[in-house]
């Protein structure tokens, strides 16, 4: 069974329909990427999975229907979401940001181990632990956003443009950590990226969205070789 199965998903912002029947599935343990131009519906797809927009269609997590549930319930089922714009609690300290995310966890010892784990991934956060999160650099805030999501110990991690606005070196570091999160912490990833080349390097599976529909899917390697994708998204 797929970890996440999305069938004929439609999404609306008020009267405007943004997704027109998107279907895809992702396997446990994998890294999947959603590609597409601005306005294709990538972010909306992620927001739909987390119950943040009005949707129609089926969304199943490990076979369990989650469409129509409250965001916090879906999150507690094991879906971490690193949103567009990072969603940092800017007036809380780094430490408090991490503790907020562990709030719903019963096993506090495991939460402490995960805290050590994210500090091992991102040592800079440990150095900034007492600092107000709003004073962090963009890269550090992105690291914090990923760490916050990891503190939920998710089965599935949704990442919305983790490279946005960051220096190439920082992006490289973050993507290196994402690979480790996937292989070591056994977290499946669903990645939305503007930088298609980067995303296809990391992912093992890719879907291409165009104006709210899936127009292509396949292994990352196949998608990367596709001439249309190369011209439209890879720029060569």
């Amino acid at each position: 069974m797929s970890l996440l199965e999305v069938t004929a998903l439609k999404a609306y912002y008020g009267q405007t329909q943004v997704l027109h029947g998107v279907s895809f599935a992702l396997e446990a343990g994998g890294i999947t990427t959603l590609l597409g131009a601005n306005g294709a519906g990538k972010t909306t797809t992620l927001r739909s999975i987390c119950g943040m927009v009005a949707t129609e269609g089926a969304i199943r997590l490990d076979g369990e229907p989650i469409a129509g549930r409250a965001t916090e319930e879906i999150v507690r089922l094991g879906v971490g979401h690193v949103p567009e714009g990072r969603g940092t609690f800017t007036h809380l300290t780094v430490d408090e940001n991490l503790r907020v995310s562990a709030y719903t966890r019963r096993d506090k010892a495991a939460a402490r181990r995960d805290r050590d784990m994210v500090f091992e991934y991102f040592p800079i956060l440990k150095a900034r632990i007492g600092q107000q999160a709003g004073t962090l650099s963009g890269g550090e805030q992105q690291m914090l956003a990923i760490s916050r999501a990891l503190m939920l110990r998710p089965r599935l991690l949704l990442l919305d443009e983790p490279s946005f606005g960051l220096a190439p070196l920082i992006v490289e570091e973050i993507f290196r950590i994402m690979r480790r999160v996937n292989s070591e912490a056994k977290v499946s990833l669903l990645l939305v990226e503007q930088n298609a080349a980067l995303a296809l390097d990391l992912a093992d599976h890719a879907y291409v969205l165009e104006t709210g529909r899936v127009v292509m899917s396949g292994s990352a390697a196949d998608v990367k070789r596709d001439e249309g994708v190369r011209k439209s998204y890879l720029g060569y």
Binding site: C50, M52, A70, T71, E72, V75, R76, G80, H81, P83, G87, T88, F89, T90, H91, L92, E96, R99, V100, S101, Y103, T104, R148, A149, L152
Partner: protein
Amino acid sequence: MEQLLQQVGAGLANGAIYASLALALVMIFVSTNHINFAQGEMAMFSAYIAWQFMEWGLSFWLALPLVMALSFTTGVVIERTILRPLHGAPVLSVVVVFIGLLTIFHALAGGIWTYTIKAVPSPFPEVAFPGSGYIGSHQLGMIGVTVIVLIALFTFFRFTPLGLAMRAAAQNPASARLAGISVDWMLALGWGLAAAVGAVAGCMVAPAVYLEPNMMASILLYGFAGALVGGISSPGGAVAGGFIVGVLENLIAYLGNVVERTTGLYIVGNGEKLTVALVIVIAVLTLKPSGLFGHVTVERV
């Protein structure tokens, strides 16, 4: 000099009440961006219930925690049943609901307990203590109880996981949901806490001003002034603002009296205290809209 200190003492005592009410207003404001105009009437109603308990033979110190618990529950229930359906409604709809709540509590209190004023005995013993020439024992008690409540709240928000979750939910509801926090329940809890803090203010002020349905009307204005002076977005600032307004209104009236005595020129006196508070509100809104301790919220559009 002695009179001046007395005025400062009385100002601090009033300020404690304003601070409590300001804090109650701010607690709801930071998470919803609404000013609960019914906060004062809710506090007044709580004071009536405390009075009723005492009429039935309970001691004040037994009645107070009971009333706080009742007010807390009422606050949570009001949020869940009346305001919950209005999430995302235009501000004006919410304002109308607040005014409705204000009227309902006012009429209920008058209907149940009549509009005749009632004297409420002070729960604090009249004893002599160092400085008792400057401040009455009830006034000192008011300050003491308020400070304890404020410290308890501060500790709750600063050091408990639930307090942290509430702060997170107020600051960034979308992110709080993505952290698995039930933001709706946090709002309801905030309402409950605000109602409980208001209840303390109501119970503390009743012995000082007589209990009647209009008791909190002007006090709410002072509390609002305090919240604005300190910064409506800052709980600590609201508390400071409450004390500042309390002391300032007394000092200005005192200075007015001094001026009148020395020059015969009447500028301000006790009658203009409320006016002074409102002038403070307008001045702050004009000169420093975010208040003394508030922060400017920049919205990206």
